[in-house]
């Protein structure tokens, strides 16, 4: 529990440091602090990754990995850009359907991992290709149109409503962690054999984790469509690796059962903000992935060092 809090704390400290660096560089360049518009922009651009990272985080908590998230974001982003019309009632139904598509994709992953006992990384490499294919079927060329109403609700550029969604995810995690299923998923990740021996429905919990991952990937696809106001059947591919990076920055252990989804959200915000920091630091955007990669490795090394210190202090 102590190390769990410590890693969450570390990810929040990293986020704070990145926010302060961003504000400082902005001040140095523009002579003022970032405006509400800038912060809203940051939140809106971080939200798709934050949601994808929450999904990835749940799966990583069970010692799994979900590479198909990228394909599911592609697919749901394509569906949003081609099926939504602007009619609120019909669109509400479609949004529900899109989220269900995500959950169904997750169900397939979950059953293959839990029932057929296949390796998560292999199952989700295969379903990644399948979901990417379906996305290209739905939207062969970039385009489509996203009704303005969706953007207003999910990623309003004029008011910081995006924070409401962040708060909703945080609240959902706090509630979920205290449910039987939430506690079970963490216990399962901590020690699958002990979880099984103490009568936890390991199979069902694993499936639930993958269903949640698919659901959140679909939500990420919807938010991405709302932010970019158009569809692109390959726009989600970056999420395969960035969702893993966000989870790592969020301090969720790859050995399962340790970490908070709040950390994954913080990691997603940090990763997005780093891009802004590099921009205001006047660094050639071509070097962006270089610094993101370094940052990722440094964060893990820092986390390892902090963990060692925490253990020594006890």
């Amino acid at each position: 529990m102590l190390t769990q809090q410590a890693s969450l704390l570390l990810s929040l400290v990293m986020l704070t440091a990145t926010v302060l660096t961003y504000a400082g560089l902005y001040l140095a360049r523009q002579g003022i602090f970032p405006t509400t518009f800038d912060w809203t922009n940051v939140v809106n651009h971080s939200l798709p990754l934050a949601l994808a990272a929450v999904g990835q985080g749940i799966v990583v908590l069970t010692r799994g990995l979900d590479l198909s998230i990228g394909g599911m974001v592609d697919l749901t982003n394509g569906l949003a850009a081609t099926r939504l019309t602007g009619d609120p009632r019909l669109d509400g139904l479609w949004i529900l359907l899109i989220l269900l598509v995500g959950a169904a994709g997750g169900l397939v992953n979950g059953l293959l991992v839990a029932r057929a006992r296949l390796q998560p990384i292999l199952v989700t490499i295969a379903t990644l290709a399948i979901y990417q294919g379906l996305a290209l079927w739905v939207l062969p060329t970039p385009g489509g149109q996203v009704p303005g109403g969706l953007t207003t609700v999910l990623a309003n550029p004029d008011a910081p409503t995006g924070l409401v969604w962040v708060a909703a995810v945080a609240a959902a995690w706090f509630a979920f962690r205290r449910t039987r299923v939430g506690a079970g998923i963490v216990a399962l990740g901590n020690d699958p054999e002990a979880a099984h021996a103490s009568g936890l429905p390991v199979l069902r919990l694993t499936v639930i984790a993958y269903v949640a991952s698919g659901f959140f990937a679909a939500a990420a696809g919807l938010f991405l469509a709302a932010t970019t106001t158009a569809g692109d059947a390959v726009a989600g591919n970056v999420f395969v690796l960035t969702s893993i990076a966000a989870v790592v920055l969020g301090g969720i252990s790859f050995f399962g059962g340790r970490g908070s989804l709040l950390g994954a959200v913080a990691g997603a915000f940090t990763l997005t903000l780093v891009v802004n920091v590099l921009f205001f630091a006047g660094i050639d955007p071509l070097y962006q992935s270089f610094y993101q990669g370094l940052f990722l490795i440094a964060a893990v090394l820092l986390g390892n060092a902090a963990g060692r210190l925490a253990r020594r202090a006890r």
């Binding site: 293959l112 990384i121 292999l122 490499i125 379903t127 079927w137 070097y287 270089f290 990669g293 893990v300």
Partner: protein
């Protein structure tokens, strides 16, 4: 009064895992699937199964094959190398920009490209083996680092020497034919022979399987687990760089993002070949068959003018089908 003694069952010693996991059967299955795809292709499009058709498939498969040779080594000890795409890309660009059209610099350029691969692998290995960074995270980070360096140093492929073609010597070595067999395939054959013999007939190979089966036991048996891991990541970097050199020799010029398809393709080929991603199990010839199977399938689907979305779906479905066919993996214990 007779003493009742509990019957103690003497456990039969476990057979060496490499033979006990049907890995030989999996190699046959993988080659069988590849052959079946080629037969179907020949029936539907005469010429698909001719020597020219098969040679074209094998040449494309060889690029994945080079990557797979290194990836298999890392996977056998339970690791993974996600830095393959930009190691390959960086090596390809390094080759053409270093040579910059001067034929006299060929050797220097090839050494630079291979050296870059080794150096990247060294970083990966130190991070995973000595600094305790999970392999997925370390190699993912290094892939980002290499992507940024490649894009930045080449100024997005707009630098002066960036438009250079691969040196003639490399292009001849890759495309030139000996008795109808392209040099690239001979090189692949050499790599296959080398890795197969090293893994199945040398102490090096026995150490790799021992570490993959149980790193702790291997350590207690006196194997330098960390040093071996570093060497394997270096070899993975080396083979990814070799793939970059071969690919740029084949196509003439490097492009940004040319390595991206090879990450998941190399892992898929390893899976089809029946090598366990948990480490310690699998025949090194399996992934070779996996490469041929994947490329044959993609070529067949293209010959059938299947749209890209359908190719993706069937590609994923094939991997799932083979996974289900092989059955569930048990953690080696």
């Amino acid at each position: 009064m007779t003493e009742v003694r509990p019957v103690v069952e003497v456990p039969t010693p476990p057979r060496p895992s490499r033979r006990g996991d049907r890995s030989g059967a999996k190699v046959l299955i993988a080659f069988g699937v590849a052959a079946a795809i080629i037969v179907v292709g020949q029936l539907r499009n005469p010429g698909f199964g001719s020597w020219d058709g098969i040679r074209a498939i094998l040449v494309i498969a060889s690029f994945t094959g080079f990557v797979v040779a290194g990836q298999t080594l890392v996977v056998l000890v339970g690791g993974i190398d996600l830095s393959v795409p930009w190691t390959l890309n960086a090596a390809a660009i390094l080759l053409t920009t270093t040579a910059a059209g001067h034929q006299s610099r060929v050797l220097y350029a090839v050494v630079a490209a291979l050296g870059a691969g080794l150096a990247i692998g060294l970083v990966n290995g130190i991070g995973t083996a000595y600094l305790g960074v999970p392999a997925v995270v370390m190699t993912l980070g290094v892939n980002g680092v290499m992507e940024g360096l490649t894009l930045g140093l080449s100024q997005g492929m707009t630098c002066r020497s960036c438009s250079a073609y691969a040196p003639d010597a490399v292009r001849t070595a890759v495309n030139g034919q000996v008795l109808g067999v392209p040099g690239d395939l001979l090189l692949w054959l050499g790599v296959i022979a080398l890795t197969t013999v090293a893994l199945s007939r040398s102490t090096f190979g026995r150490r790799v399987y021992a570490v993959g089966n149980n790193p702790w036991a291997a350590y207690l048996a006196g194997i330098g687990v960390r040093r071996l891991t570093v060497v394997l990541y270096m070899l993975s970097g080396l083979f990814a760089a070799l793939a970059g050199i071969a690919l740029v020799g084949y196509s003439g010029q490097p492009t940004l993002g040319m390595g991206d398809p090879f990450l998941f393709q190399s892992i898929a080929a390893i899976v089809i070949g029946g090598v366990s991603v948990l480490g310690g199990r699998g025949n090194p010839l399996g992934p070779v068959a996996g490469c041929v199977t994947l490329v044959a399938l993609l070529s067949l689907l293209r010959a059938e003018s299947m749209p890209e979305w359908g190719r993706n779906v069937l590609y994923g479905a094939l991997i799932l089908a083979i996974l289900l066919l092989y059955g569930r993996e048990r953690r080696p214990d």
